[in-house]
Symmetry: C2
Amino acid sequence: MKKFMNDAGSLAADSLEGFVAAHEDLVAFGQGRKHIRRRVFTPGKVAVIAGGGAGHEPMHVGFIGKGMLDAACTGHVFTSPTPDQILGAIQEADNGAGVLLIVKNYDGDLMNFEMAAEMAVSSGSHRIETLIVNDDIAIERTARGTGRRGVAGTLIVEKIVGAAAEGGVDLATLKTVGEAAIAATRTMGVALRGATVPQITRETFALGDDEMEVGVGIHGEPGRSRQKITDASTIATLVCNQILADLAPAEGQRILLLVNGLGGTPPSELYVMFGLARRFFEARGLVVSRRLVGTYATSLDMAGMSITVTLLDDALTTLWDAPVSTAALRW
Amino acid sequence: MKKFMNDAGSLAADSLEGFVAAHEDLVAFGQGRKHIRRRVFTPGKVAVIAGGGAGHEPMHVGFIGKGMLDAACTGHVFTSPTPDQILGAIQEADNGAGVLLIVKNYDGDLMNFEMAAEMAVSSGSHRIETLIVNDDIAIERTARGTGRRGVAGTLIVEKIVGAAAEGGVDLATLKTVGEAAIAATRTMGVALRGATVPQITRETFALGDDEMEVGVGIHGEPGRSRQKITDASTIATLVCNQILADLAPAEGQRILLLVNGLGGTPPSELYVMFGLARRFFEARGLVVSRRLVGTYATSLDMAGMSITVTLLDDALTTLWDAPVSTAALRW
């Protein structure tokens, strides 16, 4: 295993420190350096907080800023942040309008965010709602939990919810907006090389020179099936067919199409996949009205990519288009 | 070799097609699909055109847009665009104010851009100036040419020149601005794993499990030395010391610090390196007044990163800060 890091235990913390040093115009460490927050909060709006294990950068810290998240909590690599961290973020970000927590569907994250929410509510001073993102259609059960996993689609939910919060909607309405975004979003990924977790110094799953892992998640767990590697068109068709079958969109449906890199795959290959995926969906009568290509939700240095589709209506489109000013997304 | 591609010969073209499909609000194919251009040119300004081999995405096509490039020409992987391609871009982008060509210092690129410029000038209708970027301090001579190579610092030159052009300066002044940016900019890179060129189906240089390549370029050529891999702090100190020695900045000098990923290195590791590099320069009395971290100038899927420093004065800072709206840089 070769990485730019000082030691396996410090990668997550050193990376966060570098992140804040690079984006100090946008973000700052929260109290006790246990979370990262916007440098300046927008007064009077619902606070939107996300979090999860390290190793997925720029998710979630790269989405902190006007129009998206107020704060994010990062645990150790592939490990949930603690309830203590999440509670600290709630206390710092909530200015009375309540807090919406965005959690990816893994048992560890669910448990710790729920515990933090209970502590915040029982202190009597916070109103909390929680969204659980489960966009990954590949598998229904892993060692990390039951039901579909939350993967790259999480950033779409965070963007849409963040825009609505910035627009001033109340906590209950915001939760409804987030649920609509989640219901409209599906993802599936393929890896060509597994992630190397620093602590274990080997790939989380080892693929042969002629193999790929289909339906891979972002924690280095195996996917749905191991297959012989094939050309990009066949991979795009395989993944897009699954998404299409699951979403079953109507003819003429507008979609947001995201091709996300998992950390070790360069932009040149992501653009190949985007071109193929776009053509796939357009050939089936869908309208690719919004697009995003980049490395946003990673699994350390995994070579791989995921394709995400969100069905768009006017409301979701307006929220997606709303201004955003974060380290990783800006328009 | 495992890549998301259809075949080795089509990777560059398929990637460009996906790029245009992803960013059709900003860019379009030029005539004959031989270059990529802004969807809408700014009237009356000097046209800024760059180019080079494929495999460095998002450089240069990702820098086309308001405030940066007008057009870019991409060759095959690690191969210069042809004079014919470059001439086409000149003819389409020049609206009478002249053309500034930005070329990285490699013999193939120099030859083809020079030939295109001669053809354009001898046709009697174009005024052309050329900037040669040579920011890489690692080595002075490679199989690809004499003198320092052009690497990630090229994007800084393109941003600064693009802003000045958008501001309406004339061709001669623009060349002076670009020369100032080049004179102020130095880069050095380190690779942990070589790039895999599609046509040759193996890594361009093979590193042992405990080795790193110091002073690496972006064409898969070997660097200055092969060393035992070490921790991130030692790597940062090694690279930053070289840059510091070469630039010899005064105490209190303001700098732009760029940490660039070479394609296979994830954001988490780039941020580790940024934090260390920033601390290095600040400890030596420099002021890191502008910052950029990301995957901008790649060498296919090479695992590695480079550190770039530009010495800033008020004029360069203003041009760096000016609005830019491209696929890869936007503020």
